[in-house]
């Protein structure tokens, strides 16, 4: 068999895709000391490591802390002084050591699992609080007898889009949007509240891939309550009034 065959197997092995009989065949060939394949693998792994470089990501701090704790615990176990020996002690010592190693390993395994979960919960907690505050605000809007429920209809390029604005006397509101595709890159959907014909920006709303989105609007306690609501597609950046096409309107 020519070495050409192993050159191909070495490349497939380097990306971790070799399987079946060929995997066993190549590993046997490698174990026999083929310098050419070992060198090809080394070069391929270096090239893949460089190619796979991503923007470095900061790992959660608990990983390093846990690793250093494990390393310290393992070193402490290794450096423990040997007790004086008596004929029956080796059995007891071996049993105790096995139990200790088992307990430490199990403890570390459990700790590792729970540290990851706890960190995940800690990360999720602020998000959940924020979401809960939003849901509470929407429920309070629904309970408020002064809240109006205004329907918005799609216009222009998105006639299938729809919106629903809950709006109370203090100017607090919540807009729900459906069937509105995400704004193109460099653009954003701006929500406008019109009072006496003058527009006031109520914020920007984003929609997901399914076309759904929501925006909570803080109360402004204006003397002039809004009468009309529109959503326009605008360029990113500061705006003083609607300039782009209207995609949703309550009129």
């Amino acid at each position: 068999m020519s070495h050409e065959h192993f050159d191909t197997l070495a490349a497939v092995y380097a990306v971790g895709a070799l399987d079946g009989d060929e995997l066993a065949q190549f590993e046997q060939h490698l174990a026999q000391g083929c310098v050419r394949c070992a060198s090809a693998l080394r070069e391929s792994e270096e090239a893949l490591a460089m190619s796979a470089r991503e923007v470095p990501a900061v790992p959660p701090p608990f990983v390093k802390e846990a690793l250093l704790r494990r390393a310290a615990a393992a070193s402490a176990l290794r450096s423990r002084p040997e007790p004086s020996r008596s004929p029956w002690l080796p059995w007891a010592a071996a049993t105790a050591a096995a139990a200790l190693i088992g307990a430490v390993s199990a403890g570390m395994f459990v700790a590792r699992r729970y540290e990851a979960r706890l960190a995940q919960m800690a990360r999720e907690s602020p998000v959940l609080h924020e979401r809960l505050a939003l849901y509470t605000a929407v429920i309070n809007l629904l309970r408020d007898p002064s809240t109006r429920d205004v329907a918005l209809r799609g216009t222009g390029p998105n006639p299938g889009a729809a919106g629903r604005m809950l709006w109370n006397k203090s100017g607090e509101g919540h807009l729900f949007v459906a069937n509105l595709p995400p704004a193109p890159e460099g653009k954003a959907y701006e929500v406008w509240a019109f009072a006496r014909g003058a527009p006031r920006s109520a914020g920007r709303i984003q929609t997901d891939a399914s076309g759904k989105g929501g925006l909570h609007i803080a109360p402004d306690h204006s003397d002039h309550p809004a009468e009309v609501f529109t959503v326009t597609l605008e360029p990113a950046g500061d705006l003083f009034g609607p300039t782009g096409p209207v995609v949703l309107s309550s009129e």
Partner: protein, 198 residues
């Protein structure tokens, strides 16, 4: 501290270069400080790679811990002749991450993303503009971009997706021989590009 590609530490006012190889040697001797430095230097790269493969941060953190624990335990067996510290840790990171997603697939858990979807880098923030992403990625040397589309596809499916040659042939409806040839040509091209750049 003066940053160099080899990394530096202050020691009583003197700048002392500590290479990755030296750090691994010190880890092998049980030096916890060296282990911490080794982690600081390579964990962000390894974590990004693991995250790209497993996609869930909690799983990626778990795999990262596994990778560096193994590195600490096997530091004595590291041979610089067989690869740089970065390749050593990247290969471990990639392999452990692939083990994790294969285990998830075996258990039939989620991971239901379409084949191509599962290979997209996830570091990109959808709210970033193309220009912002370009600036961020400018620091990364993306050798895979130098491959043909068909070569890159099979290498990404294998290296980042954890698919075997047989699975790739089935997914792409290609003869097995074609998949092997594309992988080999792609790997040879990558090696050539890396050689030219170093």
């Amino acid at each position: 501290m003066i940053p160099t590609s080899r990394g530096c530490v202050w020691s009583w006012g003197t700048v002392v270069a500590t290479s990755g190889v030296d750090l691994i040697r010190k880890c092998a001797a049980g030096d916890h400080e060296a282990f911490a430095q080794f982690y600081d230097r390579y964990a962000p790269l390894a974590f990004a790679l693991i995250l790209r493969i497993v996609r869930e941060r909690a799983d990626a953190a778990d795999v990262l811990q596994e990778v560096f624990w193994e590195a600490w335990q096997s530091a004595g067996r590291y041979d610089p002749e067989r690869g740089s510290p970065e390749a050593w840790i990247s290969t471990r990171a990639r392999n452990r991450a692939i083990d994790r997603i294969r285990s998830i697939r075996r258990r039939g858990e989620s991971f239901g993303a379409p084949l191509n979807e599962s290979l997209k880098p996830i570091g990109e923030n959808p709210s970033q503009t193309v220009a912002e992403r370009a600036v961020e990625r400018r620091v990364i040397w993306d050798a895979l971009e130098r491959l043909s589309e068909s070569q890159r596809e099979v290498i990404e499916l294998a290296y980042f997706g954890g698919f075997t040659q047989t699975e790739i042939a089935e997914q792409l409806k290609l003869p097995l021989g074609t998949v092997k040839t594309r992988i080999r040509q792609g790997i040879e091209r990558l090696r050539e590009v890396v050689k030219q750049a170093t």
